[in-house]
């Protein structure tokens, strides 16, 4: 009973800390420019070096001026949002297709050097992305894709982690079901679409959600591969908006967060299902 109380207290405390960031951002977005600058401007201008920013959450005066500036006065920040969408959507579709097929292949087919290739996959998962960036850059440069969105989309479509996740999940699907279907005359495509995909839906949903979160927040790849500030997604733009206009940074933070929150709320059950069934 005592253990339960302690864990509850820890969870509540962690939740409050996490929520504080969200509340702080939301409240900051409704402050006027003057108010935000007065309380937090020094952090970025260097005036508050060595000092703490004033603790101030509730706006003195409720203002949507920052929203007007960020979302109506200029389309620049919205273009960044659409840049994020233009990167996230193709990567999501590609990852789902490639990882599902790859995972299915590793889980249900026998072919020469299968274990070796799978080991290679695991090896790539273990490598940090920063290590992969240089060879990726060289390949994209050779293909003449540096500066284009494809230089980010293509490497991200081939996700070892996604293949691994789907592989883990599909291993649990009994081979007998597949055999039965084949005996009944189902083609491989039919087996895949009618049996494998419905069964693997939670894993695919988890993969999709994890991928969206990962791609939506990426920073290094656009910076290195796009080389054009106009094509940068909102995640990259947030970094410099923070230093130029903290008020707008709050608004962009909210805009940045809303799609992720809605996606998460939409698929949180499947995310848990997919991850837990892939692991067990």
């Amino acid at each position: 009973m005592k253990k339960c109380k302690i864990s509850t207290i820890v969870i509540v405390a962690v939740s409050l800390v996490t929520l504080f960031i969200l509340v702080f951002m939301l409240c900051g977005s409704f402050m006027s420019y003057e108010e935000v600058t007065a309380y937090y401007g020094d952090i970025y201008t260097g005036g508050g070096k060595g000092e703490y920013a004033s603790f101030h959450i509730i706006p003195k005066e409720f203002s949507v001026n920052q929203y007007y500036k960020a979302l109506l006065e200029t389309p620049d920040y919205l273009y960044k949002f659409w840049n994020s969408i233009l990167l996230t959507l193709p990567i999501l579709i590609g990852v789902v297709v490639v990882s599902t097929l790859g995972g299915y292949g590793f889980a249900k087919f026998q072919f020469p050097l299968k274990n070796f290739f799978f080991f290679l996959f695991l090896l790539v998962i273990m490598l940090p992305y920063q290590v992969m960036m240089v060879p990726n850059f060289m390949v994209m440069d050779t293909l003449g894709l540096i500066g284009s969105r494809w230089s980010i989309i293509l490497p991200n479509i081939f996700s070892p982690f996604g293949t691994f996740l789907i592989y883990q999940f599909m291993r649990r699907i009994p081979n007998e079901i597949l055999e039965c279907a084949r005996l009944d005359g189902a083609s491989e495509l039919r087996v895949f679409t009618k049996i494998i995909l419905p069964q693997a839906a939670p894993a695919i949903a988890s993969l999709a959600m994890l991928n969206i979160i990962d791609t939506w927040s990426m920073i290094e790849q656009p910076l290195v591969f796009l080389q054009d500030p106009e094509k940068n997604p909102l995640s990259v733009a947030l970094a410099y908006i923070n230093t130029s206009n903290i008020g707008i940074a709050f608004v962009c933070g909210v805009v940045f967060l809303i799609p992720l929150m809605l996606v998460f709320l939409m698929g949180k059950d499947k995310l848990v299902d997919g991850i837990s069934n892939s692991v067990i």
Partner: protein
């Protein structure tokens, strides 16, 4: 399950909202941009007028002189304007003329005698021949005067400017009796001064030929208008920023045909119009940033989802300008910004207005 659908709908609604906001904000952004109008530079002339006051002068003036020393008895040309070969200028003392004639004849004989002492190829002989010829010419003139009862005639056609002698005046051989402008081949010059700054603006090149409209006002107060005479500005070398004297040359005959009366030293109201030179690149004067000596052109810059029209300044040299047009040099081919509703600078993003 219901909540999942709700979140899905919310996500779609959010994306639609973002789409609408993007459209609206890009419209607002575009409407706030400076609006500019473009035009293609064309070749053409630039008419500049310059009003000034000039002084009229005769380019060629001649004199009627007496051939020998003599005394003026009567001025015959008093009140006469036109001179011709037979116009009596003045009458001189007959006795003095006869004496002068004898003197000349004796001198000629002396020369002839001296000439026999030298060979025809010697310098002394040639000198004596020239001296003798001069005396013979004078003798002819004196003979003519004696034949005309002592009257000296014009011997040329032209317009009398001034009579320089008075009755009873003793004259030496070669002294002028009057000055006149010969009728054939005479020219008038009109001189004026203007600052080098104005001159450089008006005459971009040293040897430019300008069309000339002159409203000539003579001392008698008469006014005539010449018809776009092409005149060479003769004093254009070494133009400095200081006051410089300029001159145009007019044929007297042309002025006579136009009916313009003229007189030495008369004030002339000048309106100079330089319409003759064809410039390659002429733009409206508003297109030139005179402070920075540049024009503004546009460059298409692809920025993410949109293509922006960005202002690029191009340094130019203004060759000639008036209130409406300017001739420039140094720009690449293409359209230049000729109008902007706001001040524009290098790198500004602008909205291009459709031309009417």
């Amino acid at each position: 399950m219901k909540s999942k659908k709700l979140y899905g709908k919310l996500l779609i609604a959010f994306l639609i909202l973002m789409l609408i906001l993007t459209y609206v904000s890009s419209q607002i952004y575009t409407s706030n941009l400076p609006k500019v109008r473009l035009d293609t530079p064309q070749s053409g002339t630039i008419t500049n007028t310059y009003d000034t006051q000039g002084i009229m002068e005769y380019k060629v003036k001649k004199e009627v002189t007496v051939p020998v020393d003599c005394t003026v008895e009567e001025i015959e040309a008093e009140g006469v304007f036109n001179l011709n070969e037979h116009t009596a200028v003045a009458s001189f003392n007959m006795e003095e003329l006869l004496l002068a004639k004898y003197d000349l004849e004796i001198q000629i004989e002396n020369y002839e005698t001296q000439m026999t002492q030298y060979g025809t190829d010697t310098p002394q002989y040639k000198r004596l021949v020239i001296l003798k010829q001069n005396l013979e010419e004078e003798l002819v003139k004196v003979d003519d005067m004696i034949t005309n009862d002592g009257k000296l005639v014009g011997g040329d056609t032209g317009t009398i400017i001034d009579i320089l002698v008075t009755e009873g005046q003793q004259l030496k051989a070669g002294d002028p009796v009057l000055t006149y402008i010969p009728a054939e081949g005479n020219q008038l010059s009109i001189k004026w001064t203007m600052t080098g700054q104005d001159a450089l603006k008006f005459f971009p090149q040293d040897d430019v030929v300008v069309a000339f409209n002159a409203t000539v006002e003579t001392s008698a107060g008469r006014e005539r208008l010449t018809k776009n005479k092409l005149c060479t500005i003769s004093t254009k070398k070494n133009i400095t920023l200081d006051e410089t004297e300029f001159e145009i040359i007019l044929d007297q005959n042309e002025l006579d045909e136009e009916g313009i009366s003229y007189s030495e030293g008369a004030g002339v109201s000048l309106r100079l119009t330089n319409t003759s030179f064809e410039y390659e690149t002429v733009v409206p004067v508003g297109a030139v940033d005179t402070e920075n000596s540049c024009v503004y052109m546009l460059q298409e810059v692809k920025k993410g989802f949109r293509t922006e029209q960005t202002v690029v300044s191009v340094p130019v040299r203004v060759l000639m300008q008036n209130d409406e047009l300017a001739s420039i040099t140094g720009i690449p081919e293409g359209e230049v910004i000729v109008y902007s509703d706001q001040p524009i600078y290098d790198g500004d993003v602008v909205n291009v207005l459709e031309t009417d």
